[in-house]
Each structure stands twice: as C-alpha cells, then as structure tokens.
C-alpha cells in the first residue's frame, strides 16, 4: 500500500495478514522489503515490510537528502498505519529501529537490531577533516544497487554518537541486539548498556523467536 511521509510516497508491504502481534521490518541500506521473504514463516502475527525513501518501491527524495531521522519518520508513518508493532531492523534499519523505539515507546513493545549495510554510519562523531560534501559523493563508497537513489550513500556518513544512541535506548521499552561475532559500532555498544536491552548470540531465526516472545507477552495486538 502507498503511504505519504511529507512529500514522499512510501511503499508498505503487508507480507502476512493474520491476527497476533504485528511486526514491522526495516531493511538495510541499499535493500528493500524483498530481503525479508522468510520472516512471515518465523512470526506469529501480521508482518509488514517498509521500503525506505530512495529504496524499492518508495519515492526518491527531491533534493537528495537522506538521514536516519528522516527514515525514522518514514517508519513512524508506517507505524501509525499498523498501530502497535515490534520492530526489526537491519543495518541502517537497526539504527532507525532504535530511534523509533526511543521516540515512540508506547506503540513499540520491542525492537530487534540486526547487522547489515549502513550499521555504522559515519562513526561516533563527525570527521572534521573530511569534506562536508562526502555524503553527496557516491564514488567514495561501493555502489548501491540499481533502483536505489545513489545519494542514499549519505547514510554511511552521518555521525552516530554513543550518548545520543544511549538516550534513545534508555527510553525504548525492550531492545534485542543480535551478535554474530562481527564487530559492532560504538552506538550499538551504548544501546546494549541500557537496562532494558539484551544481547543474543545466534541467527536471525532465533532472534525473531525471542522478539516474538516479548511481543506476545506484551499483548496489545491489532
């Protein structure tokens, strides 16, 4: 279905219409809802997958401005449509899930943070020696897939300070962070220290099962 976030039209896919706790999926940088095809079989309720602006079936932003807080606005418009939903995000979608879980604690019983492209952003603070036009210089990074606005590469440049992430984590109801042995950025470690955060070793299947436990116990289904 089509949703509107300010001047941008977004595509929200309902992958699995049924009763139960809702799940809203937020893809990684350069991804789309298509990467979540296995999720409905792993989730006990309705599953929605959003295409962020600049990705998949959603509009590209006029003027080419992409930043995590605006993507969180995309996800919040989808959340308004779904009602109450657990979030699962990969890469930049994990950071967006953290922002939304802290910005909208009431309708988000829990958020699952998964690795993927765009997880680190530009690091914990700005690189003051780097050109401010780097976000608009796609050649500086591996190319994004066709169909994705090349200017979305800005989502690999934005600073993500640990204390900023910690403030959102502190307000989120529950966070589940999936570890797989690969290094994680400083903002992730800061979120992990929140009292309501838990870390899991293993795979996405196990992490979604844990998220479903929390969401089911929370109730508040559609």
């Amino acid at each position: 279905m089509r949703l509107r976030h300010a001047r941008t039209e977004l595509e929200l896919h309902e992958l699995s219409p049924r009763d139960g706790p809702a799940l809203l999926l937020l893809h990684a940088l350069g991804g789309s809802s298509a990467e979540w095809s296995e999720a409905p079989a792993l989730w006990p309720g309705p599953v929605f997958a959003l295409d962020f602006c600049g990705h998949g079936g959603s509009d590209w932003v006029r003027g080419g401005i992409y930043q995590p807080e605006m993507l969180a606005g995309d996800a919040d418009v989808a959340l308004a449509h779904v009602g109450v939903a657990a979030l699962a995000g990969a890469g930049v979608g994990a950071y967006v899930a953290l922002l939304l879980a802290g910005g909208r604690p009431e309708p988000v019983p829990a958020a699952l943070l998964l690795p993927g492209r765009g997880l680190a952003g530009g690091g914990p603070r700005p690189d003051f020696d780097r050109s401010m036009l780097t976000p608009f210089t796609p050649s500086a990074r591996p190319p994004l897939p066709a169909g994705c606005d090349p200017l979305c590469g800005a989502l690999e440049c934005d600073p993500r300070p640990p204390d900023y992430a910690a403030a959102f984590a502190a307000r989120a109801r529950r966070l589940v962070l999936l570890e797989d042995g690969d290094p994680r950025p400083p903002w992730w470690a800061a979120a992990q220290r929140a009292p309501t955060a838990e870390s899991l070793d293993g795979d996405v299947r196990r992490a979604l099962a844990r998220l479903a436990e929390i969401a089911t116990a929370h109730g508040g289904h559609r």
């Binding site: 300010a6 401005i65 807080e69 418009v77 959102f168």
Partner: protein
C-alpha cells in the same frame, strides 16, 4: 500590488539559476560582471533581498551575487533539508563564477559560508561571518530529553503530509506583523520591502515563499561541534557582530570567543547601534568594515 521601495535598496541588475542536487537555486547580482565576485548568503527564513541595501555598496568594487538557499525565496523546495545540503547549494553557486570568490553570510548563512569555505577552499578567498556563530550550548535538560524531543519531531513529520504549504494570509500586512513580532528592531518600512519579496500573492491570499518543511530538522548535531570545524578553516575570517542585544544575538563573548579561538586568521568587528540584522540596520557601516577587510 506595486513593489515597495526602501531608501538605499537597489533592484538587482541580473538574475539566474544554478543547479544543486536537482534543485534550482536562485541567484541575483549587482555590479560589474567582470569584477571579482562576492557571494552573499542569507539567514534562516530570509532570502537574497535581505542584502538589497548592502549589496549595492559592495558593488562599487565587486561583482556581488546573493543566493536564495534551497527552500527559501525563489529557489526550489526540496523533499527534506539538512545542513550539508545547504553547503552543497553554496558550493554549487561558488562554482558558477569561474573564479574564487569572497563569501559573506548572515546568521545561519554565516555558518553556511564558513563550512563552504572549509569544504571548497579552492573556490574561496576570504570569509565574512555576520553574527552566524551558532546557537548557545544545549542545557543539560535539553541534552537529557533528546528522545522526548524526537517524539515531537515525529509528530511534526506525521502532520506534514497535510501541511505542505502555508495557509494564506488575508493581506501582506498580516505577514509583516508576524515578522515584526520576531524581529522588533527592524523598521516597518524595511519589513514592508523585505516581506513583499519573502511572500507571493495567490488567489487565496498572501503566502510565504519559504518552505514550511525547513522547520523540520533533527539529528545528533551539537554546538560543541562548531569549534572543531572553525579550527580547520584555512580562509581568513572577519567576524562581525552588532553592539546591541537582539532576539537572536549576539551571543556573549564567553561563548563566541572559544568557538573563534581556533580560526587561524581572524579579525573581529563590532558595528555600533546594530542588533542581529547588522547589515540591515547599519548597511553603510557594515559595508565599510567589509570593504576595508576584503582584498581587491
């Protein structure tokens, strides 16, 4: 309606557009096109005509251009805005002169020209920053409430789909009154001239030209990041403030001083009798300080 006039305000001699990130950026110019260029950058919610009294005084020696930032004046509206996009706009216009330029910016535009000079040093000669040294530091309460403030941002974004344009006002006077409430030091005659060019008359009434979405911004940026940026500025800077307290400044020297401490080649000037809109309140004195500073 006949365009208002204002003593000392001179109509631009030329206008053109420059492309930046797919948006058309509006540029007006005064003075000899063969003279060395100076680019003027306005503040938040303002537009190129805010320099209508300063530009003709600088045009005695320079090719003077003033730009409308994206979302402002007669430049295009974007889907979203962030600081780096405005820097892209400034650098795009700088690239249109065919020679390095002097940069003059007011308020938010002062921040833009400083960052543009860092970003494109090969295109910039000297920088004049007019009371554009950033907001005061966050209070501890503001820092602690970042996620709560983000809820407000999300509410604003949800509402934006039905508020993508301004509601029309019945007359230009209504808009002038709105602006006067924010800038009480500015005279009614100036505000009539300035607001006329900040608005357009539609069948339904008078609307601001500036994009309402410009008010939507959120991110981890903090005033602590101003000084490290200034410390990497290679171009010389003239830092100008007015002597009088005003709605938006100047900040106390205890705040500005440490931010400017890292600027390698810094001169400072205070214009007596002026508030935040230094160049509007005292165009001759401001032009004199700038002309004394800028290399020919």
């Amino acid at each position: 309606m006949v365009a208002p006039t204002f003593p000392g305000a001179v109509e631009p001699e030329r206008e053109r557009f420059v492309e930046s990130l797919g948006l058309r950026i509006h540029v007006v110019e005064w003075g000899d096109p063969a003279a060395p260029p100076v680019l003027l950058c306005h503040g938040f919610w303002d537009h190129a005509r805010s320099f209508a009294t300063l530009a003709p005084l600088l045009a005695e020696r320079f090719r003077v251009a003033a730009m409308d930032g994206s979302g402002h004046g007669d430049s295009d509206w974007a889907g979203a805005y962030m600081w780096a996009g405005h820097i892209h706009d400034v650098v795009a216009v700088l690239g249109s002169f065919g020679a390095p330029a002097h940069l003059v910016g007011h308020s938010m535009g002062g921040g833009h020209v400083t960052d543009a000079a860092r970003t494109a040093p090969e295109l910039v000669r000297q920088v004049v920053n007019i009371d554009g040294f950033g907001p005061p530091p966050l209070t501890p309460a503001e820092e602690a409430q970042v996620a709560e403030r983000f809820t407000g941002f999300l509410d604003q974004r949800r509402a934006a789909a039905s508020r993508l344009d301004w509601r029309p006002y019945p007359s230009l006077d209504h808009l002038i009154e709105r602006r006067r409430a924010q800038n009480p030091r500015l005279t009614p005659a100036w505000l009539r001239y300035f607001v006329f060019h900040a608005a357009r008359e539609t069948a339904a009434g008078w609307c601001w030209k500036a994009d309402p979405l410009l008010a939507h911004g959120f991110g981890p940026w903090r005033p602590d990041w101003i000084a490290p940026g200034y410390a990497r500025l290679r171009a010389p800077m003239l830092a100008v403030v007015g002597s009088e307290d005003d709605t938006w400044g100047p900040l106390p020297d205890a705040i500005i001083g440490p931010r400017l401490a890292g600027v390698a080649r810094l001169e400072r000037a205070t214009i007596a009798g002026a508030g935040h809109f230094v160049h509007v309140e005292r165009p001759r004195e401001t032009a004199r300080a700038i002309l004394d500073y800028l290399e020919p």
